[in-house]
């Protein structure tokens, strides 16, 4: 079958979203650099966003959840920005105090 | 256009060709524009500094000067510093260039002469031009040199913070027009020059100047060119660059200058509509047939290019007139002055539009109701039919929008 000939559906977007989400999770789980973890978070949020937009898009499924998807996606974007600002501040603080950016060194709260 | 090619090509090839033609046109705008403007800048700076500027190359006025420079740059050796991050160092210029190039996708040059008519064109352009900073930052980092890194950092801080007032300023005309579609925004200002949004009310007038400041800053032209402050950092982020890559940076810079000027022209100065509606007087409009419409659009195109060039020239004038700011002063200008002023102007414009929907002397030839997006027409019948609270509330919204249109 010719992939390029047939119209795309929600599921295509969902697959992309899933891949980005998992990639983000793996990125979070493997990067030792705090900022790398942050990037993983951004990826995860983006995967989720792709899903929201796909569900909400009138183009792909006119009887979907309508605008709510896009609105929630907007909120996610904004909150991601906020989260990035705070996380970055935390990372820099961590860097100032421990003079390293390695998250494995941040285990004072070990039980 | 693609339809035209389809007659004698397989469709996918036809579309490809069509796309390529569009791209070629746009790239020409940037490349040729950059050449012209570099030459122009030399002349302008020369005149301002009481010099002549280039005079020899290509006969009079040295009008081939920048072409010659281009050739020189292309033939120049292309260095890659040892401590550089090779991949990023190579990619960075193209990132900048692509960014400022993408801005042209949504920038209409005349009525409906636009590569991609989007209904969020304004934000799209702002966003894409904002991406130019990545090239600079990456260049700054990848060069592996302190000066470049400093340049990149400054650029990052500056651009990120200047996007806030820039966005606020852009929102004001959008608020008045009631749409983010640049084409319809331009159409609303058709007619006499009194219809231009810059004359819509005092707030928009001030907003334009704030916008211009922020735009100058966000394309990092002097006096905001902290990223390439040759007196402090050798040449800032492009210290290590040379040859074609370097020239790409410059094309990007001039391209985005042109783009922001064009945005200003459409948002505040009526875009392709001249000060006098000569086109409509000469009945050079689409109603009188495609040819006349085409001629009218050509006239509009000239208008538009002239306005943009005026904006660019103004930037040059500013550059060669004002001294460069310190980085903290740049930040102060943005956060302590531009942002509050822009916010205040936004508020004022809102109140003004609510109070006098007609603006000062604005009598748009196109009633807004036809421009606003489809929800209005869609909302009207249902809301009038149903009496449930939710739709009553919506009816109020719709009604308000409707009579604000009627008010114009």
């Amino acid at each position: 079958m010719n992939v390029l000939a047939q119209p795309v559906g929600v599921s295509h977007f969902l697959i992309v979203g899933a891949i980005m989400f998992v990639t983000g999770a793996v990125c979070m789980a493997t990067k030792r650099n705090a900022l790398g973890v942050l990037m993983g978070i951004e990826l995860v949020l983006n995967g989720a966003n792709v899903n929201f937009v796909a569900f909400g898009s009138e183009l792909l499924n006119p009887d979907g959840i309508g605008l709510d998807g896009q609105l929630i996606a907007l909120f996610v974007i904004v909150l991601a920005a906020a989260e990035a600002a705070v996380a970055l501040a935390i990372a820099l603080n961590f860097y100032n105090n421990h003079s390293t950016i390695d998250v494995d060194r941040a285990d004072e709260l070990k039980g | 256009m693609a339809i035209y090619f389809e007659n004698w090509l397989p469709s996918w090839l036809a579309y490809l060709v069509a796309a390529l033609v569009h791209c070629a046109l746009l790239i020409n705008v940037i490349a040729v524009g950059a050449l012209v403007y570099i030459w122009l800048e030399r002349k302008v700076s020369g005149r301002i500094q009481d010099r002549l500027g280039p005079t020899r190359v290509g006969g009079r006025f040295g009008w081939l000067q920048s072409l010659a420079d281009g050739i020189k740059l292309i033939t120049k050796e292309d260095l890659l510093p040892g401590g550089a991050d090779a991949m990023l160092f190579r990619v960075a210029p193209y990132v900048s260039f692509c960014a400022s190039f993408c801005g042209y996708l949504a920038l209409p040059f005349a009525y409906n002469w636009v590569a991609m008519r989007m209904n969020v064109a304004v934000f799209f352009i702002i966003a894409v031009i904002g991406l130019e900073v990545f090239g600079v930052i990456l260049a700054g980092y990848a060069s592996g040199s302190k000066w470049s890194l400093f340049g990149g950092m400054r650029e990052a801080a500056q651009v990120v913070s200047y996007e806030v007032p820039l966005g606020l300023c852009v929102v004001v005309p959008v608020l008045i027009a009631g749409t983010m579609d640049l084409v319809s925004i331009g159409e609303q200002q058709a007619g006499l020059f009194t219809n231009w949004f810059v004359f819509h009310d005092p707030f928009t007038f001030i907003t334009f100047w704030v916008y211009f400041t922020c735009a100058t800053a966000s394309v990092n032209r002097a006096p905001f060119d902290l990223a390439e402050a040759e007196s402090e950092l050798v040449a800032g982020f492009h210290t290590e660059y040379s040859g074609l890559r370097w020239s790409f940076f410059f094309m990007a810079e001039y391209g985005s200058m042109f783009a922001v000027s064009g945005l200003a022209a459409i948002l505040f100065f009526g875009g392709w509509n001249g000060p006098l509606p000569i086109a409509s007087w000469l009945s050079l409009t689409a109603e009188h047939g495609p040819v006349w419409g085409y001629l009218g659009n050509l006239l509009g195109l000239t208008n538009f290019i002239l306005k943009c060039s005026f904006g660019v020239t103004f930037m040059m004038w500013v550059r060669w007139t004002l001294p460069r700011l310190r980085i903290d002063q740049v930040m102060t200008t943005c956060l302590k002055y531009c942002t509050p002023i822009a916010a205040a102007m936004f508020l004022g414009a809102t109140i003004w539009t609510a109070a006098f929907p007609g603006g000062l002397i604005l009598r748009p030839t196109v009633p807004l109701g036809e421009i606003r997006e489809g929800w209005l027409e869609k909302a009207e019948p249902t809301s009038s039919a149903s009496v449930s609270s939710a739709s009553v509330e919506t009816k109020n919204f719709v009604a308000r929008a409707a009579d604000s249109n009627a008010g114009r």
């Binding site: 119209p7 789980a29 990037m39 499924n61 820099l92 | 579309y15 990456l138 929800w375």
Partner: protein
């Protein structure tokens, strides 16, 4: 052969997005990661445009790519010193993460592909998506002009997003202040009586 250009561009952007996302994971150089992330998110914005969400797309470009990631890269540069630019992870962790992630991916894909309404219909898509910008604006203002044709019962409780909008904006302000506070320069606290020593 006739190409459905929508699908074509979708494929292109999808491959970009996923590919660069993978590149983010695989690359070990933090700055390269940041760059790939930029490209991946930009491609995602392209996907949004393809899904007919122009406004969200340009918002993604403006706020996410243009703002958040610049901030991120800023942070990367601030902390980019030779030992931290590339920090290797032990192979065991790689394998563990790969297994866990793979299972998660498997589950997600299975969920995605099993639900029939989500599959692509054979009917071609409408060539132009409905305009959403001002409807989104009204939605944020609290009026759902897109739902007017729905019956009142279905619209019950769908009163728009005014409150979340307000909350988010206040939240943003708080975040700004908080970030500035966290990242403020540290002052050395001089115990009383030791001023001389501290100055010398």
């Amino acid at each position: 052969m006739d190409i459905n250009w929508h699908s074509f561009f979708f494929m292109a952007f999808a491959i970009f997005a996923c590919g660069f996302a993978l590149a983010v994971v695989i690359s070990s150089n933090i700055v390269h990661m940041a760059f790939y992330l930029v490209l991946s998110l930009g491609a995602t914005a392209g996907l949004f445009f393809l899904a007919g969400a122009d406004f969200v797309g340009s918002m993604q470009l403006l706020i996410y790519v243009g703002g958040t990631l610049v901030l991120l890269i800023f942070g990367v540069m601030l902390t980019a010193q030779s030992p931290f630019i590339s920090m290797k992870t032990k192979g065991g962790e790689w394998i563990l993460a790969a297994i866990v992630g793979g299972s998660l991916l498997a589950i997600l894909l299975q969920a995605t592909l099993n639900i029939k309404e989500w599959q692509a219909g054979e009917k071609p898509l409408p060539d132009r998506a409905p305009v959403t910008a001002s409807r989104l604006g009204m939605g944020l203002l609290g009026a759902r002009v897109d739902e007017l044709d729905k019956p009142a019962a279905a619209r019950a409780g769908m009163s728009g997003y005014l409150l979340p909008f307000e909350i988010v904006s206040v939240h943003l302000l708080v975040v700004l202040i908080g970030a500035a506070y966290l990242a403020r320069p540290k002052k050395r606290i001089v115990p009383r009586g030791f001023e001389q020593e501290s100055q010398s």
